[in-house]
Amino acid sequence: MRWELPLTALGLLLLVVGHGIGLFVAPPEAMMGDVGRILYAHVPTAWVALVAYLAAFVAAVGSLWSGRFTWDAAVAATVEVGVVLNGLLLAQGSIWARPTWGVYWTWDPRLTTTAVMFVMFVGVLLLRSLVEVAERRLTVTAVAGIVAFANVPVVYFSVKWWRTLHQDFSSPETVSSPMVTPLRIAAFGMLFVAIGIAVMRWRAIYAAVQRETESPALPDMPAPLKLPEVP
């Protein structure tokens, strides 16, 4: 059995437990009340999206360094997982913003940099889909991934660098102790599920690239001229 399947199953189990404790056992947040329970879904999504982008950066460096398609597939898989989680993160945040800030969206530094991060990594995938030659696609994907990653530390530190509506880093220092356990369980759950999905996507993308490089499509050739048959 492929190892990512039990890891993904464990991740789903942890996610159920973490979300269950967050929804039904943990106390309501002091200011936000029950709406604060969104924390246990939103924060793990944010953490794991950033981890996926970090993995994409490492894979992009490995891809450029080695020129091997196994790294190229890893870049594509981790960027894809990051983009899905990033999109989910923005949607979760917008829903949470409505009851707490009174609006679904505001051009706050954390929100804006996160939206820019999403657009940049979607751009990486779009760019990748436009290049047909596998070797060139490897280089383009890796360079675009490294450029896009430049925004990730900006997103992370945006709550420190600028005055923002968004809360500070969520950590055991900034979150009350009854909230830490479900947050940690849900974070590990989301991490394991994301690793499982990334490995599945890596296998599929790598297999497709291998098929492509083993039997590259021939350029269009003109049809051979035929001489009329001599009676």
Partner: protein
């Protein structure tokens, strides 16, 4: 908001919307990734 306490009350609809969306995305993406991975064997 509860008068005087400063705490927002209610809002479970937003909570369920977030958890419903999260689980939908996780399950759909996982199913698609698993299906494509199996096909690539």
């Amino acid at each position: 908001m509860t008068p005087g306490s400063g705490m927002i009350t209610g809002g479970w609809g937003f909570v369920w919307a977030v958890y419903g969306l999260t689980w939908t995305v996780v399950i759909v993406y996982l199913s698609v990734a698993w299906s494509l991975s199996r096909r690539s064997k």
